[in-house]
């Protein structure tokens, strides 16, 4: 007697929008390759019921000046390249990045207050050092974000750089810059399905095409709100698959930044022996955070440690293999 097991394949009506970062020379850019994410019409890696045409992309985060407060484990892993943003970008490409995520941290008023001109020079340098598409983040202070991102948008005109972050109270300038110079934007909202959707609507109301918007739902690291991000992403992904157009933007999460902020990754002094070996624990902190969010629907993960990147690359390979 063969049991007849009912089918549980879902017939999703929607799919995640395809978004391409970077532009080849033929399309007005200078990149060696482009990276397209999104396009899936099923939940993450469920090949039995739908298509996952593009693998999630790994971006490696680099800074425009040596980061003082990073964990010694990270500083050691990168070594000298931290001193030079171009070298760092090149090394990131070598260790397996699909994208370079450049943070213009030195533009922050408290950290150097460098100018738009400086930002142009930095971006030029990174564009020359790597063939990968770019994500560029401002320092996270409204006025400086607007200043340096507008400069970057002009400098890198036509490169389809993802500019971040747009937030509900401050999106117009960055969106206008992206519109004028052929870039993408990242809309970041604080761990809430509705706010994520609202920002997508506000941005697209400015007539930026939806295939040029990424959404960052705000990342919580393992042990520090991971579950909130996880569920918000699952809900956004489900809504997208159910055909809700304004939730169909690919999602980007900054797992490296958040995981390495956790005490478990940052320090080893005075911590319980039960936490185990520091390096291994830190690597797992970054990779488990990343893995969990990939399975919740992340399309781009922004990471920090080269070993962690390598592991996640292997995991993605396996998850992309059809059973």
């Amino acid at each position: 007697m063969a049991a007849s097991v009912p089918s549980v394949q879902e017939k999703w009506t929607g799919k995640v929008r395809e978004v391409t970062l970077g532009a080849l020379p033929a399309d007005g850019g200078t990149r060696g390759r482009t990276v397209t994410v999104g396009g899936e019409n099923t939940l993450p890696f469920l090949h039995f019921e739908g298509e996952v045409p593009h693998r999630p992309a790994i971006a490696i985060e680099i800074w425009d000046h040596p980061p003082e407060d990073w964990s010694p484990i990270l500083l050691e892993a990168w070594g000298d390249v931290l001193q030079d943003v171009g070298a760092w970008a090149k090394k990131a490409e070598e260790v397996g990045a699909d994208l370079i995520a450049l943070t213009l941290d030195s533009a922050h008023p408290e950290k150097g207050n460098t100018s738009g001109e400086q930002a142009r020079a930095t971006v030029r340098k990174v564009l020359e050092a790597t063939t990968l598409p770019l994500i560029v983040y401002g320092p996270g202070q409204v006025d400086k974000d607007n200043e340096v991102l507008v400069a970057v948008a002009e400098e890198a005109a036509g490169e389809r750089v993802a500019l971040g972050n747009c937030e509900e109270g401050n999106y117009r300038t960055i969106v206008a810059a992206a519109l004028a110079h052929g870039h993408l934007v990242i809309g970041k909202t604080p761990i809430d399905v509705n706010l994520a959707k609202q920002l997508n609507i506000l941005i697209s109301d400015m007539r930026l095409d939806l295939d040029r918007i990424l959404m960052d739902p705000t990342t919580g690291a393992l042990g520090y709100g991971l579950e909130y991000t996880y569920s918000v992403m699952e809900r956004l992904k489900l809504a997208a698959l159910m055909g809700d157009s304004m939730t169909q933007q690919p999602m980007i999460v900054t797992t490296g930044f958040e995981a390495w902020r956790a005490k478990e990754a940052r320090v080893n002094e005075g911590v319980p022996a039960e936490w185990g070996d520091w390096t291994k624990r830190s690597l797992l902190w970054e990779t488990i955070t990343t893995m969990a969010l990939l399975e919740a629907g992340a399309n781009i993960v922004v990471m920090r440690h080269p070993e962690a990147v390598k592991k996640i690359r292997q995991v993605i390979d396996k998850l992309m293999t059809k059973a």
Partner: protein, 447 residues
Amino acid sequence: MGLSGLAIYKLLPKTNCKECGFPTCLAFAMKLAARQVELSACPYVSDEAKAVLDAASAPPIRLVKVGPEERKVEVGNETVLFRHEKTFYHPPGFFYRLKDDEPADAFAARLEAVANYGVERVGIELKADGIALQSAAGSADAFGERAAQVVSAGLPLVLIADDPQVMEAGLKAAQGMAPLIYAANAENWETMASLAAQYGAPLAVFGEGLETLAELTEKIKGKGVEDMVLDPGTRGWSDSLAAFTQLRRLAIKKNYRPLGYPIIAFPGEGTEDELEEALLAGQYVAKYAGFIVMDHFDPASLYPLLTLRQNIYTDPQKPIQVSPGLYEIGKPTPESPLLVTTNFSLTYFSVAGEVEGSGIPAWLLVADSEGMSVLTAWAAGKFDAERIAKAVKSMGVAEKVAHRKIIIPGYVSSISGELEDELPDWEILVGPREAINIPSFLKQFAA
């Protein structure tokens, strides 16, 4: 999921007699729908209604218990596919595999390491759950002996052996400990089923493919065994994800009884790499395993995995909170302004975001408002002078901040008087009502 509140209400007496402890039958019905009360609390339900309601409330995934009462691992009884839909109730157990042919010393040492592992995280003690004892020698005696050793350590057991005789030795040693038998398969299912029945132990069932598995569980059920655990035979990343997802959907969405049991997973059989084993175990935590058998014990991987499990199995219906404390926005100095707000995450994020966006470094004191926003917390008395004062005193604010000025949200300006009484050394300043006005406020303040 079961019936809606209204559907249940229609089956109740509708007399609003209040004997169940609720003011109305509808209130009681809604609690029933949310599975927060037992039907028996109403003395007046008709038999007919009882039958309907009982059937609707039977769990789609059977609750299976392994181990002695004090350290039991209970899994199953899940009602949703995604944690946001309700919550995940029963976190998976981590079982470490030991083989019965290991030298005695090594065996004892590893057993002890697992048994004694315990670490606190946010006030909760995290532990490894048990041992999966595998017969490698094929000897009943060795298996029984080692099982007894695990039993005396008080740990729950998964017994792994194909040979029914060997299995029985283990079961004998673990009488009354409800060990999980791994596993019945197409060949041995009859004897394994009778062992399970005889020893009152739950039975894992191995079958490649869901059809085979469903067939086996039906046959075993026919032998009177109710407590089963499923192993669909997948070991890698994407095949397990697909299989486990289908199993969960079959139970929850189709109420398909033959596969309405918890799942067992073996991440160490999916990869050689130790780090990857931990990652794969992470997938199983998030995606539907009930028992996870690990091959490598290492606190450096167990701790993050237990943390992940704690995260995933947190009740998502509670408002998102940030932990109360004194937060640094930017790099504040002792002279930087000090603001206070509540620990509802959206409130925190919008305030912190605006402060950060202003470019003026500041101290942000997050008081415990039990996850409520400023207005709601204030309305419920959870963000009042007393609580704010308590936060100021308990978070070491006075050590980090040199001045004595605290900025409160504009919406609670009415408490400034009381707050002055509570904090006589402090000057209470009323900030803007809306977070969007914080940057201009801070700029004026700093000027």
